[in-house]
């Protein structure tokens, strides 16, 4: 019995010591809420895979902290005309298995992306490529069918090694050691990384789906880092934890209330305006989101280069909302509501809490609204097929204003795009087509300024808020910078400072 107890105690000591030491050994443990489904950057469809890939792979370009494309595996590029790109690739870059990186790797990656049978979500972007050829091992020429302003941003997709399709081998600062589905992804530093060996020895992504468990792991110290997966209610508590540093900054994730513009009631702009005026964003931001958001006037955040602030706004004004409903032919009735609407959302607890407050506010002006929450697959499918009246969703990491084309152009009705609200405006269509073909930033700014004014006036969405990017991490971690898409690029330069 004694022997048994002492073995048990020894095992316990070993196991409990192991965790504490990871940070001291130079390994950072990051908590993520979902399982990365596929770490091949060409096939990654979920945010977890894409963010982990940002450490394993390099693209030809890489977004900077503001989302602007900067050189990565392409050292520089030239544009002889507005459809042709010549990329000069970095020399001396090696893959994790020691083989040399050349233009044939880029070609084979892009060829697979272009093949619809391969099933990459990037297929549409790469179908714009008319011709591509390697001029030499370090020069690549790509010709597009038509000018496409966001093309450079889309080249941040990771380059995989030619011929080794099934293995996760990149050129990035960290190499994949182990992927245990549902449990963790273990990466170790690539000492031969072309920008210099990372100072962190390794990074472990631990999959913790439950919000509370994730926070408790962080408090205990078995997770060292959380990004944008912290319930707003917990942020204040984490800020008071002396072992942790909390970074908050206005982010680009945009929450909106979408209207079905093919619905007989919501076709009426006065009704949409009434609903917009019935919503008290500040109340929701302060009480439900604990101040971790800023009211939005449109899809782009105020710090974006193409942001236009001089647009029609819809402040909380229930009195005005009631008048607008009276004008639109839905007067107040003593025996019931002015109209009945249904609102769809997912089953996420935070979405449901927001929905409860939102609907309470809308009901305050006499519109009865019932909430229906669905499992994600069903919810999203209903939204795409137009089977809804009202819904709320989030656009995450919008970088290029060409996103307006995807979300509002009349040719972007699902399944061809994300014009989920079925919005049609020929004037806007023209502007968005021009915007994606125009390469000069100043001209694009003018085009998208006009587009934002039109969208705010027509009100296919009620702009709710832009969420803050929130990071809670151990104070020992230094040099981390938040990127708009949540990528972990800055971990290649981050280090641990033990007190």
């Amino acid at each position: 019995m004694k022997k048994f107890l002492s073995i048990g105690f020894l095992l316990w000591c070993i196991f409990s010591c192991e965790k504490q030491d990871l940070l001291k050994q130079g390994t950072l443990v990051i908590g993520i809420e979902g399982n990365p489904t596929n770490l091949d950057p060409r096939l990654a469809t979920d945010a977890y895979s894409m963010r982990i890939d940002s450490l394993i792979f390099n693209g030809l370009t890489r977004p900077d902290e503001n989302g602007e494309p900067t050189p990565d595996l392409a050292e520089r590029w030239e544009m002889p005309d507005n459809r042709t790109y010549i990329f000069y690739l970095r020399k001396g870059v090696t893959f994790h298995d020691g083989s040399k990186f050349t233009s044939t790797d880029v070609l084979s990656t892009f060829e697979s992306l272009r093949d619809p049978g391969f099933g990459s979500p990037l297929v549409t972007t790469f179908e714009l490529v008319e011709k591509m050829s390697a001029q030499d091992p370090y020069t690549l020429r790509i010709r597009l069918r038509e000018p496409h302003a966001p093309f450079l941003s889309q080249l941040s997709v990771g380059i995989v090694q030619k011929d080794i399709a099934q293995k996760i081998i990149g050129t990035g600062p960290f190499r994949l050691v182990r992927f245990s589905p549902g449990s963790s992804v273990v990466l170790s530093a690539n000492e031969k990384y072309f920008r210099g060996s990372p100072r962190l020895k390794g990074v472990i992504f631990k999959i913790v789906p439950n919000d509370l468990t994730r926070i408790l792991e962080l408090r205990k110290g078995s997770i060292h880092f959380l990004q944008n997966n912290i319930p707003p209610d917990s942020v204040d508590d984490l800020e008071h934890n002396p072992a942790l540093a909390v970074l908050k900054r206005p982010g680009a994730s945009y929450a909106y209330l979408g209207f079905n513009l093919e619905d007989p009631l919501l076709k009426n702009r006065l009704v949409r305006r009434a609903i917009a005026h019935s919503i008290n964003r500040e109340e929701i931001i302060s009480h439900v989101l604990r101040g971790l958001a800023t009211p939005a006037t449109g899809l782009l955040p105020s710090f974006h280069w193409a942001y236009e602030g001089d647009v029609e706004r819809y402040p909380y004004d229930p009195e005005k909302a009631r008048k607008l409903l009276d004008q639109s032919g839905y007067p107040s009735r003593s025996n019931g509501p002015r109209m009945r609407l249904s609102y769809k959302t997912s089953v996420s607890p935070l979405s449901k809490r927001i929905a409860e407050v939102l609907l309470h506010q809308i009901e305050g002006v006499g519109i009865a609204c019932d909430m229906r929450s669905y499992e994600w697959g069903t919810f999203f499918s209903d939204i795409k097929s137009g089977n809804f009246q009202l819904f709320t969703l989030l656009w995450v990491g919008v970088v290029d204003p060409d996103h307006f084309y995807y979300a509002f152009h009349s040719s972007s009705f699902p399944p061809r795009g994300a014009n989920r609200v079925r919005y049609r405006n020929p004037e806007l269509d023209g502007l968005l087509e021009k915007g994606r073909r125009t390469l000069a930033k100043e001209k694009r700014r003018e085009i998208y300024s006009r587009a934002q004014k039109i969208i705010a006036r027509d009100l296919p969405y009620v702009s709710l808020w832009h969420l803050y990017d929130v990071v809670a991490m151990r104070k020992e971690l230094k040099g981390f910078v938040i990127y708009p898409g949540g990528e972990f690029y800055s971990l290649e330069n981050a280090w641990l400072e033990h007190r």
Partner: protein, 307 residues
Amino acid sequence: MKRFIFKRFLLAIPVIVGVSTLVFLLIHMIPGNPVEVMLGERALPADAERLRNELGLDRPLSIQYLNFLSGLARGNMGVSFFYRKPVLPAILERYPATLELTAASMCLALIIALPLGLLSARRPYSSTDRLSMLFSLFGATMPSFWLGPLLILIFAIHFDWLPVSGRENALSLILPSVTLGLGLSAILSRMIRSGLLEVLDQGYITAARARGAGESKVFLLHALRNALIPLITILGIQFGALLSGAIVTETIFSWPGIGRLLVQAIEARDYPLVQGCVLVIAISYIIVNLAVDILYAVVDPRVRYEK
């Protein structure tokens, strides 16, 4: 006995076919499709069509179903749309974790329930009995989404004895198995108590006592063995239920089991993976049920499966 087992295996075939048909139809009936999730919303209709063709989703449902069945007959459950690898290895990666958690929870439940049930039955309506039944009531009514975080707060955060979540070492197994096992032990201890009380009134127990057998011998050898039949039934049912139904506990403790894999597959409309998971769970159920039937014969010599 061998014939019985062989017959049961044969009977399992229509059950498996039935389950797979039902799952196949249900997963294809619910809204949403995997091509949209894979290619995203920007995809051109032609690209979506080509991928649909590549995945075989453009064929009539009956043909898809026949293909699925013929694959199954050859031991091929298809390739997961999202993991891009064969379904069976993807499931088998997670299955040991589920089995481990289920077995540990059952063992723990038995370790708690057996002495509690015995104590209660030995002195029914005494304070010990009332206390143990109070515990049962507590265990049976505590939901795992409350008990799990509570156990984490006490044992992982306050005392810092155990890990919060994950499946890294033997210690990781303790909290999730206690969360699952406690509720189960409550049901089992009540079963043992009532089973024993029923048996203790039987004539053969009086006879055993009359022959001078000690109370412990009467309890453990004569009474408990006979009270085990309903207990084994419940154990079998619970074992099957835990294999698929521990999703809440798996989520709280980040346990990489098959329950979470199934939920994820349903959300992504990964048809082959959903079918594979349900099938593996159904087969496990069948095997456990068969084991239960065999155990009946072991425990109760009156049960015979031969002619």
